[in-house]
């Protein structure tokens, strides 16, 4: 006798119920964590207005995907339970072109709409050039440290010569000793910036690909050898924030980190003065 008619009626209730229940539990647990945040499951508050745009786009995506997630998982669970083998005959159909049209169109509109709505958050940083009075800091990465260079009182970055790189003698960036503009450059291991002023970071690497990331900025950028990549941000809150490297760069990747200190304008000027004095 074909197995499909034998004992499957009573046999299917248990697995159907278990599977449907497991799926429901998974959905409920996931939604619960998103809503109630019972353990660390969210980034810290953003400290830039662009960061808020990113958060907004994330939240919008979460709502859309959340609804799709809940409906499809619960729909699956429902179908599993409702259409378990109870001795019925399956309903023969090859499908419905109308339905295909409807859900294809709906999905296109939803997904593409979502993608297009995220343009602003991306464009504000990546398509928009920095303001002319932005504070410029050069970020140099190598295995496994960050170094930050300010142009100093003369406002000009000195030339760099890779052949002159020598971390052991205090010249990790390879400042060209022959270039006078570099004499007053400030090189420090942490990044200090003023609050409420745009900062432009010129990101570069000496050896392999690294990355500069601060969660609170909602901004990260790979540091690629052979390129200088500019990004900009305006922090609107003082504080100390962790900078991490997110691009695998070798065995010390996990310990490559620094700090971003956002300070008041007077504190920032003091910082520059103090550093200038010690160069």
């Amino acid at each position: 006798m074909p197995p499909s008619n034998r004992n499957s009626m009573s046999g299917s209730a248990a697995p159907a119920a278990m599977l449907a229940i497991l799926i429901v539990i998974m959905v409920v647990a996931t939604v619960y964590v998103f809503l109630a945040n019972p353990f660390p499951s969210r980034p810290p508050a953003a400290i830039t207005s662009v960061g808020l745009l990113v958060d907004h786009q994330y939240f919008l995506t979460l709502c859309v995907t959340g609804v799709v997630f809940i409906l499809s998982q619960l729909g699956l669970a429902y179908a599993i339970w409702r259409f378990r083998d109870r001795g019925q005959t399956a309903h023969f159909t090859r499908g419905s072109n109308t339905l295909e049209m409807i859900w294809t169109t709906a999905t296109i509109v939803l997904f593409l709409g979502l993608g297009l709505m995220g343009r602003k958050a991306w464009a504000e940083v990546r398509f928009t050039p920095p303001e002319s009075n932005a504070v410029q800091v050069e970020v140099t990465t190598n295995q496994f440290v960050f170094n930050f260079r300010y142009p100093g009182p003369d406002g000009k970055f000195g030339k760099l010569d890779p052949a002159q790189v020598s971390s052991s003698t205090g010249n990790p960036l390879g400042l060209d000793s022959k270039d006078p503009d570099g004499k007053d450059d400030i090189v420090v291991p942490t990044l200090t910036v003023p609050v409420d002023r745009q900062v432009e970071l010129l990101i570069r690497s000496q050896d392999v690909i690294h990355n500069f990331y601060v969660r609170e900025l909602r901004l990260q950028q790979d540091a690629v050898p052979g390129m200088v990549i500019p990004i900009h941000f305006t922090a609107n809150q003082t504080g100390r924030y962790e900078i991490v490297c997110t691009q695998l760069c070798g065995l010390g990747h996990y310990r490559m980190r620094s700090f971003l200190d956002v300070v008041s304008e007077p504190d920032y000027q003091n910082f520059l003065k103090q550093q200038a004095a010690t160069q």
């Binding site: 499909s4 046999g11 299917s12 599977l19 647990a29 964590v33 660390p40 499951s41 969210r42 786009q57 995506t61 859309v64 499809s72 699956l76 599993i80 259409f83 109870r86 005959t89 399956a90 309903h91 023969f92 159909t93 090859r94 499908g95 419905s96 339905l99 295909e100 859900w103 294809t104 999905t107 997904f111 593409l112 979502l114 993608g115 297009l116 602003k120 958050a121 398509f127 295995q143 890779p162 020598s166 000496q206 050896d207 392999v208 690909i209 990355n211 990331y213 990260q220 950028q221 790979d222 690629v224 052979g226 390129m227 990549i229 962790e242 997110t246 695998l248 070798g250 990747h253 996990y254």
Partner: protein, 585 residues
């Protein structure tokens, strides 16, 4: 005996001798099993690597007797990460669904006696085997396995030992292994495509092919077009490392205060070449599973696949779009942000055919008569896991949001759910479904069910929390997260995931036992234990050497004629003539 038409002497000669039969066999069925066993070995290695990783993440200072030095170093952790990814993506996910089940069942499901080029098929397997030996060798050479991740970004992978341990011979072996794998896959793809185009039985039009065949066919096209790119990249990388060229290495590189003698290359070039291959690669990993899911869902719901044509075209759309989205791995790489936005729009588009498939899977179940045999359980699990994993992709597809998710555990959660779980469930569904046909015996249903429940719950327990680790800022490829203050707070979640991982891994032992025990002790299987409709179920279990014992079928209808009104039985095999089928009314 008549010498014409389809009856008559078998045209495939049974080989003699153990070597010709089981080692250097040109029979696609033997080759399929060889690929499957290779993947089985690889997945065991890959799981052990991942368990070591998960253990290290929660007990970084633990004393491990088999590790030289006693405590796992960061570079050893990175070697685990690299090798786990490489072995799983290539030797499991690209091997079992396509090389394993595709090889075994594509010819049979289209009514052919073998692949178009059986000797080439054998060559493909043995080159894959060589590639596997090469990658395993990386563990034992001086310096150990490479530490640059399965993505092998330059310059980290391009300058030799100077960038880190394992970057010498280990990295070279990695490149050699991958290159051999590319060659083998190109040959295999060639075979699959030619077979599907030219060897179909009379009456099997494209739109009467099972969706499993559509999956293998489009996957092969992806492979044909993508693996050549990776091979080119691998050749150039080998030259950079050993011949002094600078395809990927710019001027001015300083490692350990030493200026490197390269100039003019671009690290981004490697990324473009790698991801142009790498993105189609992940669709290569999932498309066969999608085909299997449709096939199994239909068979065990006793209903045709809902929207069969739409499903076939969705597979093609996913394949096509899969070539246009590689830049979404590179939003923050230094690539032009305008390109980034273009890639983003294309990536959101690829969500559309995937969503269509999900709706049609549910549509297939709707109004059905669902039987919860083990293949079906895994196919249902596949749908749930694919939804979960696919939706997180929508976040990553947007560059602005990627700013906060790139390189976090959110990405790891996403690709593990789709590749490391859903695709694996596709392999399990295929295994439970086709084991009776391949080996003439049934697997144990009770053991299969234990395997399913623990694995389904377990994999969700491992990978759902991982999203939250990523959202909170937990970073991937970190040997030790406890150094960052905010990341230490995530350790309890890591502990939970590690427990879940060990329990889920243990459940796989049930599968292994079931598989090997059933080979000898499973209940004898008939030709069609599932009352399915496609051509593999009309022949013996296991099939004879030429698949059909000389009686090659013709096809008269589509592949999913279940519960057709007016018939006494709820399935009509594809090969019944209209007269024969009429007798079922």
């Amino acid at each position: 005996m008549s010498s014409h038409a389809h009856t008559g002497h078998a045209v495939v000669v049974e080989p003699s001798g153990f070597i010709r039969k089981y080692i250097f066999s040109i029979d696609h069925k033997v080759i399929g099993i060889q690929y499957f066993l290779l993947a089985l070995t690889a997945v065991c290695v890959g799981i052990v690597l991942s368990l070591l990783m998960r253990f290290h993440l929660v007990y970084p200072g633990a004393h491990l007797p088999f590790v030289s030095g006693g405590i796992m170093t960061p570079e050893q952790y990175m070697a685990l990460v690299t090798m786990h990814g490489t072995i799983m993506v290539f030797f499991v996910l690209t091997t079992a669904p396509q090389g394993g089940f595709g090889n075994y069942f594509l010819p049979i499901q289209i009514g052919a006696p073998d692949m178009a080029f059986p000797r080439l098929n054998m060559l493909s397997f043995w080159v894959t085997f060589l590639a596997f030996v090469a990658i395993l060798a990386a563990f034992v050479v001086p310096g150990g396995a490479p530490i640059s991740g399965w993505t092998g970004y330059t310059p980290l992978s391009g300058m030799g030992e100077v960038t880190g341990p394992g970057e010498g011979m280990g990295q070279t072996l990695w490149i050699v292994s991958i290159s051999l794998f590319c060659l083998a896959s190109l040959l295999g793809a060639l075979n699959f495509i030619a077979t599907t185009i030219d060897l179909r039985a009379p009456g099997m039009t494209l739109f009467r092919m099972p969706l499993t065949v559509w999956g293998w066919f489009v996957t092969a096209i992806l492979g044909l077009l993508a693996f050549g790119i990776l091979l080119a990249g691998g050749v150039l990388l080998l030259l950079d490392r050993s011949a002094g060229t600078s395809f990927f290495l710019p001027a001015g590189l300083v490692v350990n205060d030493q200026l490197q003698p390269h100039s003019g290359g671009s690290p981004l070039l490697w990324q473009h070449l790698f991801w142009f291959f790498g993105h189609p690669e992940v669709y290569i990993a999932i498309l066969p599973g999608m085909g299997v899911a449709s096939h199994v869902l239909s068979t065990f719901a006793r209903k045709p696949v809902y929207g069969y044509r739409a499903m076939a075209m969705a597979i093609c759309a996913i394949g096509f779009l899969g070539f246009m989205v590689w830049g979404h791995h590179m939003f923050l790489s230094g690539m032009s942000p305008y390109s980034g936005f273009a890639f983003s729009v294309l990536t959101m588009s690829i969500g559309v055919p995937s969503a269509i498939k999900t709706f049609n899977w549910i549509g297939t179940l709707w109004g059905g008569k669902i039987q919860f045999k083990s293949p079906m359980l895994f196919a249902l699990g596949f749908v749930s896991l694919f939804v979960s994993g696919g939706l997180s992709g929508l976040f990553l597809a947007q560059p602005a949001v990627d700013n906060m998710l790139h390189a976090t555990y959110y990405v790891v959660a996403h690709f593990h759910l789709v590749m490391g779980v859903a695709a694996i469930f596709g392999i399990f569904a295929a295994t439970y479904f086709w084991f009776p046909k391949m080996f003439g015996r049934m697997m144990s249903e009770p053991l299969a069910k234990i395997h399913f429940w623990v694995t389904f719950a377990g994999t969700y327990c491992i990978f759902m929390p991982m999203h939250f680790v990523g959202l909170a800022g937990g970073l991937r490829r970190y040997a030790d997260a406890t150094g960052t203050t905010y990341a230490s707070a995530l350790q309890p979640i890591h502990m939970f995931m590690t427990y879940a991982a060990f329990i889920t891994a243990a459940a796989q032992l049930v599968f292994l036992f079931n598989f090997f025990w059933s080979l000898k002790h499973g209940a004898v299987a008939g030709k069609n234990p599932w009352n399915a409709t496609t051509l593999e179920w009309i022949t013996d279990s296991p099939p004879p050497i030429d698949n059909f014992g000389g009686h090659y079928p013709s096809v008269y209808r589509g592949p999913y004629e279940f519960s057709v009104p007016g018939y006494r039985q709820d399935f009509i095999p594809q090969n019944l003539t209209p007269e024969e089928a009429a007798r079922l009314k």
